[in-house]
């Protein structure tokens, strides 16, 4: 095969040892959930329902981290204009949207037995839904705009606005009188639940990193294929 590197501006990343990292994240999630379900005792107020915190709270925490990554790479793209930063932001946005949807679904499953309703227009729930809709808009926008540069610029703007909304989601339980409890952290739960909560949080964090990295790899490969196709068409013309 002849050298095509001068027609593709960068080499797409290789899988390397990332599949092993993904397998480790899954194993940690299994261990964390087993610890949470089997070993943690029922809570005084919620009974066995407290076991839902081991999936709901880590999903919400890591969703926020993922959208912070979107903001970082969106700003970096606007600063450096390197399309790989745009692809990194898009990868994180997709993973963050999945985590956002999961947080909402788990929240609804948690809400029904604790509040008696699946959904209420509480400030935390509403702001999380708005965040989800913003990132669904972000991903739709990427599907609509064909020009890669314009798509990257518009996506960066929407990504930054969406990520700012994470701050509103976080503060919503303080700014408004809500049904949702205040921010959860290892300090707000009984010490007996902290270990399982931490393990599950790290498992979600590692899974998120794995998903973002692999999605970035696939987006880079797709974009590099576009570059190669354009170069081949120009060469044939």
């Amino acid at each position: 095969m002849s050298d095509t590197s001068h027609t593709i501006p960068w080499n797409p990343p290789k899988p390397g040892r990332w599949p092993w990292f993904g397998a480790f994240a899954i194993a940690l999630l299994l261990a964390g959930q087993a610890l949470g379900v089997i070993a943690s005792p029922p809570d005084r107020d919620m009974g066995d329902l407290e076991k839902i915190i081991y999936v709901h709270v880590p999903a919400a925490w890591i969703m926020s981290v993922t959208f912070a990554i979107v903001m970082y790479y969106s700003l970096k793209y606007l600063w450096k204009r390197d399309e790989r930063d745009d692809l990194a932001a898009a990868s994180a946005a997709e993973v963050g949207t999945v985590l956002n949807a999961l947080t909402l679904i788990l929240g609804m499953i948690f809400a029904k037995p604790t509040w008696g309703v699946w959904w209420t227009w509480d400030a935390r729930l509403t702001s999380t839904l708005v965040l989800f809709l913003m990132f669904v808009g972000y991903l739709s926008l990427r599907g609509f705009v064909d020009d890669p540069e314009r798509r990257a610029q518009w996506s960066a703007a929407v990504g930054i606005l969406g990520a700012i909304n994470v701050g509103i989601v976080y503060m919503s339980v303080k700014w408004w009188r809500t049904l949702h409890q205040t921010q959860s952290s290892p300090d707000t739960v009984a010490s007996i639940y902290v270990l399982a909560l931490r393990i599950n949080a790290f498992a979600f964090l590692f899974l998120m990193i794995y998903f973002v990295r692999r999605r970035y790899e696939s987006m880079c490969l797709d974009r590099a294929a576009d570059h190669a196709t354009e170069a081949a068409a120009l060469g044939a013309a």
Partner: protein
């Protein structure tokens, strides 16, 4: 006093939803990587052929 209401249906639903999301997205990402790599290899091979012709 610990509540005695049986809420296991909600707990099982929550864990099932989490695993469906994780495994579903895992499959989606792996398919996307495989498809993108095949597309990239095809595109670079076609580019190499076109560069070979032009030389």
């Amino acid at each position: 006093m610990i509540p005695t209401t049986n809420n296991w249906a909600f707990i099982i639903s929550a864990y099932a939803a989490a695993w469906i999301a994780v495994i579903g997205y895992w499959v989606f990402v792996h398919r996307a990587v495989r498809r993108a790599r095949a597309r990239y290899e095809q595109a670079t091979a076609s580019l190499a052929r076109s560069q070979g012709k032009s030389q």
